[in-house]
């Protein structure tokens, strides 16, 4: 776990408390949104929530070939309340549109089940999701920011790319952090009208190299 500032810890603890209270005090279904930066943010929350509440947590990840994030609500037994972590980690493309489209049309299912649906997005993807699923969004009970401190500032990533030197990293966590930094850089830069395609290409190349390096490590 990376070291984080005390104020950030306080803020994170408040968000966890808010989510726990929301779940405890609302017996019906709950729709909440969580913003994450790295997969660690979610596993950290899952661990903390498990110790706070005696409720099963089911995790679903959506990336390619996106199906409805709401199907699982009907599949789980309605006599036992579950928390569902629905994690969108795909790109900002047609997959998100399809994911948002399902949610917007099928929101009524939330009236029929007792479960807690916690949908996780990265910041940019959440903004796009809201635009594409406004009616589903209108049913939210909370939006909670669980983002850890930026693992790699955009400036640092930019400098690394511009220097053409890929630092040799042998630590899985640091590699994941670097990959995440490149993804964020691409996400923020790809929509820039004045973008330099060579620069964008180099960033994609760095991301690919980092992801390839990551394959040498087993999942923790």
């Amino acid at each position: 776990m990376r070291a984080v500032a005390p104020s950030q810890v306080d803020n994170w603890t408040k968000k966890l408390k808010e989510l726990s209270l929301l779940i405890k005090f609302s017996p019906q279904s709950i729709l909440a949104f969580g913003i994450f930066r790295s997969p660690d943010d979610i596993s950290h929350l899952k661990k903390a929530l498990s110790s706070e509440l005696a409720m099963p947590i089911v995790e679903q990840r959506f990336e390619h070939q996106v199906s409805s994030p709401l199907t699982i609500l009907r599949e789980l037994p309605s006599d036992k309340r579950h928390i569902i972590f629905s994690i969108y980690q795909g790109d900002l493309d047609k997959n998100l549109s399809s994911y948002a489209g399902f949610a917007n049309i099928q929101r009524e299912v939330l009236n029929d089940v007792p479960h807690v649906l916690l949908m996780f997005f990265r910041e940019r993807a959440l903004t796009d999701f809201i635009k594409q699923a406004p009616d589903f969004w209108a049913w939210r009970s909370a939006v909670l920011d669980f983002q850890s401190e930026a693992p790699l500032s955009l400036q640092e990533a930019w400098q690394a790319i511009e220097s053409q030197e890929q630092p040799r990293i042998t630590d899985r966590e640091a590699l994941e952090a670097r990959a995440q930094g490149y993804k964020e850089l691409i996400e923020s830069y790809a929509y820039n009208q004045d973008r330099d395609d060579n620069y964008l290409g180099r960033t994609y190349f760095r991301l690919a190299s980092t992801l390839e390096d990551l394959t040498e490590y087993e999942e923790p």
């Binding site: 929301l22 929101r107 009970s141």
Partner: protein, 244 residues
Amino acid sequence: MRQEVEPQFSELIAIIDDIQQEIKWQTKKKLICLIDGTDKASIETAEKLFYKHGKYLTDPTCSVVYSFPTALQHNTHFNQVRHYFSESYLLPNFRTQMPQQQAAPDPETEKQCHDLKEVICKRMAADLLEPEALDALVHFSGGIVRSSIMLTQRATLKALIEGKEKIKKHHVDIAINEERRIFDRLLSEKQKGLLEHVRRSNDIDADPEAGYLELLHNLSIIEYANGHVWYGVNPVVHALLRED
């Protein structure tokens, strides 16, 4: 697209007819069928459904009420859409603000603010809310019931986190600020410019290209229909705009 929609569409009409015949046969009573969810369609889909297929929507032999997106009212084909149906009704928001931002509330606005307070207090014990907190909830909801409930729920959580027994204005302010940050993420500078225009004029340009309908859809602009139709900026968003 036409090929995809039509089978579902004719199926819907057939289902309505089957249901109404079955109920009529069993109960000897007439049926009113409410089709909800059709208001969630995008404006393009709603136009296809209500304009291109509008005349078929009235095929069922029972009375049917369809919900439709507010933005469809501003579609160039809406007059023709209206002709397919006996009536079109707009379910108005509570008018909790005046057309001119600085104007003092008139008796009708005060009454509607009072009515919305009653709605909130039907859902929770009124003595859990400090009067200033209740006033702020009503004002910043913009008269949208769902927003008032959502802000109340959030403010309640803030009070619980602090271990307080009453919801104070300060808790409502935190909830409003969180909501404002979301709008700030969503709105472009161009859209904020459009909202500044609405704040001054209380009107929108209904041309889909002008960009106002999207703002109506995401509730940055709220439609009020009390006497005449006018448009206000969502009070949560006001602080994101430049001063006049």
